[in-house]
């Protein structure tokens, strides 16, 4: 069984869905662009792995999920949280290390999470998420609800043993789980061709006895459609799918311009930017008469305003107090 390639079909989702997909992508893009600037301005401490370029993946998948569905994310996790319904204020506050952040300033970018939204955390460990998502999917099945768990991971993580074990167990138990590989062509600074001998990570699905699907991760419609099938399959108890989305990060592994390492060419980056998920989708929305140019501009302006307000909120928020340090190490409730 070789992974099948998916292209978006012609039957369109509703206007509402199309507009929500667009909104999700714009919210992620603007959030990440500003976060990058804030990091460069020294407002955000620590490491920041930005999702710019990959917006179509999180948005297309999350469109099918409710707050009761679980996801696990990666070190590049802000986009997943935004698409899952994360609000800008507590997100920026968390990146700023403030007590009003989603994790009270204790997690930061690499551990940003929100249990109420079904987001089981970004993860500083490559390959850390899939075993947890498999466990959450087990929990759903155990409790006999109809919720699913989606594990996001990269081409780099696909080489981790933990991912192999998680996918095998999810397939063995036919768990309501979807494994979404965001293949952005690089494991940190090492090109895919230098870290694995295959081109399509989804080919590995046959080794687990489950479907593997490849889709264009720069086309939100293609992701939406492929993810929809995989999630529906999981929800009805038919087991997991390995969905690979071919995508690209415009920024460096860390930060915006990163450490200036010469591991890829400017031409390559420009080539992918020509396939930009948001620009391409906006053209289609106008062609389809779903949104006008003006309406699209309004979306960008209103998201930008929300971000301005969130940054003011984060900036004015207090840092955690020294006495907060030892809170939350253990659950003291009995």
């Amino acid at each position: 069984m070789v992974a099948k390639k998916k292209n978006a079909k012609s039957n369109l989702p509703s206007q509402k869905v199309l507009q929500e997909l667009h909104m999700k992508m714009v919210r992620i893009r603007r959030f990440e662009e500003r976060a990058g600037k804030m990091m460069e301005d020294g407002k955000i401490p620590g490491a920041l792995h930005l999702y710019v370029g990959q917006e179509a993946v999180a948005s297309g998948v999350m469109q099918h999920l409710s707050n009761k569905d679980w996801i696990t994310s990666t070190h590049r996790g802000h986009g997943h949280l935004v698409a899952k319904g994360g609000e800008f204020k507590p997100m920026f506050a968390e990146l700023f290390g403030r007590s009003t952040g989603y994790c009270r300033g204790k997690g930061g970018s690499m551990h940003i999470s929100n249990m109420d939204l079904g987001m089981l955390g970004a993860n500083g460990i490559v390959g850390g998420g899939p075993p947890i998502a498999m466990g959450a999917a087990f929990s759903n099945r155990f409790k006999k609800n109809k919720n699913v768990a989606v594990a996001f991971f990269g081409d780099g993580a696909s080489n981790e043993g933990s991912v192999h074990e998680a996918i095998n167990m999810a397939s063995l138990y036919k768990l309501p789980c979807v494994f979404v590989c965001e293949n952005n062509g690089y494991g940190e600074y090492t090109a895919q061709s230098r870290h694995q001998a295959i081109v399509d990570v989804a080919d590995r699905a046959s080794g687990y006895g489950m479907p593997g699907v490849v889709c264009d991760g720069m086309d939100v419609m293609a992701v939406y459609e492929a993810a929809g099938e995989a999630i529906e399959r999981a929800r009805k108890g038919s087991g997991p799918t390995l969905l690979e989305c071919k995508t690209y990060r415009y920024y460096d592994h860390v930060g915006v311009r990163g450490m200036g390492l010469t591991y890829r060419t400017d031409e390559e980056v420009e080539e992918w930017k020509n396939k930009d998920a948001i620009e391409g989708f906006e053209k289609r929305l106008i062609q389809l008469g779903v949104m006008t140019k003006k309406k699209i501009e309004n979306v960008h302006a209103s998201v930008g305003k929300d971000i301005d307000e969130a940054i003011i909120f984060a900036n004015e928020s207090p840092y955690p107090m020294p006495e907060d340090l030892l809170d939350n190490v253990y659950n003291e409730e009995t």
Partner: protein, 333 residues
């Protein structure tokens, strides 16, 4: 321990006390299940999962592939999302296969999420030497786990504690490692029927004495108790404290004992260097220096992997004789 009162008591080996502890948890907690290698159809390699599949069924007694990262990840994900899993890690040595899931996910998730995640997961695992199982199936690695903020680690030395601590661990809202000991599996004692707790984080004075305090972990409690008899014969009265819990550690019980005896000896089966005994010795010197009449001493395994040959393994594991020797040294006899 009030739950244990008024319950009928019978002699039970350690292995069956573990079995009863798991059964009580599965009976009383509808969100509990047990998952691990060979736990369902085979009943577990040590026999303590006997009868679980028949009583609780496939949904709650889950055979897993030999995939420790997956199994531990299952415990993390399922506990964070509303289940109370018991994860069976066949040998403690296998923590190396899943240390990321233990150290970076399970122990830290609550803190990293600002207190918004709760992970009520119990991990059962088997430590200790004595069966010629050699270097990869005999270790005592409790210090690795006790070093992790967010993790609780207990070492029941006998059948009563094993059952009660499994029940307490499963009722606790934190990840708890229950480190069992294979050399104790056949040891019998009186164990109550039904459910009862042995509190996590409380040491227990096993025998009173005035001349020195012995703090022992896990099966070393039995070696310490055997040494007490030998010491009596030469006029020394040792007080033995079963630490029971490594993390959190009950410093208070130990310090109170030292205020009376003025001397202390810490005993564990793990290698001495970097073992938990170093931490306990340091705590004693921080909290009770003025009461000490002699340096705190340790009896532990030498800095070697666990050997295979019975001739070497016998030398490796601390014994009542090596404890007696060290006690005499501590008392300058």
């Amino acid at each position: 321990m009030s739950e244990a009162e008024n319950k009928s008591v019978r002699e039970l080996p350690y292995v069956m006390a573990i079995n009863e502890g798991i059964k009580e948890v599965l009976r009383e907690q509808k969100d509990a299940f047990i998952a691990g290698e060979d736990v369902a159809v085979a009943g577990g390699v040590y026999g303590y999962c006997t009868g679980l599949l028949d009583e609780f069924g496939e949904d709650r007694v889950v055979d897993t592939p030999i995939s420790e990262k997956g199994i531990m990840g299952l415990g993390v994900g399922a506990s964070a999302t509303g289940c109370r899993p018991i994860i069976d890690l066949m040998f403690m040595d296998f923590v190396g296969e899943c240390m990321d899931e233990i150290a970076n996910q399970m122990a830290k998730m609550r803190f990293m999420f600002g207190g918004k995640a709760t992970l009520p997961v119990t991990v059962l695992t088997m430590g200790g030497a004595g069966g010629s199982l050699a270097a990869q199936h005999s270790q005592s690695l409790e210090a690795w786990l006790a070093h992790l903020p967010g993790m609780k680690v207990v070492m029941p030395s006998d059948a009563y504690d094993a059952k009660g601590m499994i029940i307490s661990a499963s009722r606790d809202n934190n990840p708890v490692f229950v480190v069992l000991n294979k050399a104790s599996l056949a040891m019998t004692m009186e164990v109550p029927e039904g459910s009862y707790e042995v509190p996590l984080g409380e040491a227990c004075v096993r025998t009173q004495g005035k001349d020195l305090t012995i703090v022992a972990f896990g099966r070393m409690v039995h070696e310490a108790m055997a040494s007490v008899e030998k010491l009596k014969a030469i006029g020394i009265e040792a007080e033995v404290i079963d630490a029971r819990s490594v993390q959190p550690f009950d410093t208070e019980t130990v310090v109170n004992s030292i205020k009376k005896t003025h001397r202390a000896l810490v005993i564990h089966e793990a290698v001495k260097f970097g073992g938990i005994g170093g931490e306990i010795s340091a705590q004693i010197q921080e909290e009770a220096f003025d009461y000490l009449d002699a340096p705190v001493m340790r009896v532990a395994a030498p800095f070697s992997p666990v050997p295979f040959s019975p001739a070497l393994e016998k030398v490796y594991i601390p014994s009542s004789d090596s404890i007696v020797t060290k006690v005499k040294e501590t008392l300058a006899l």
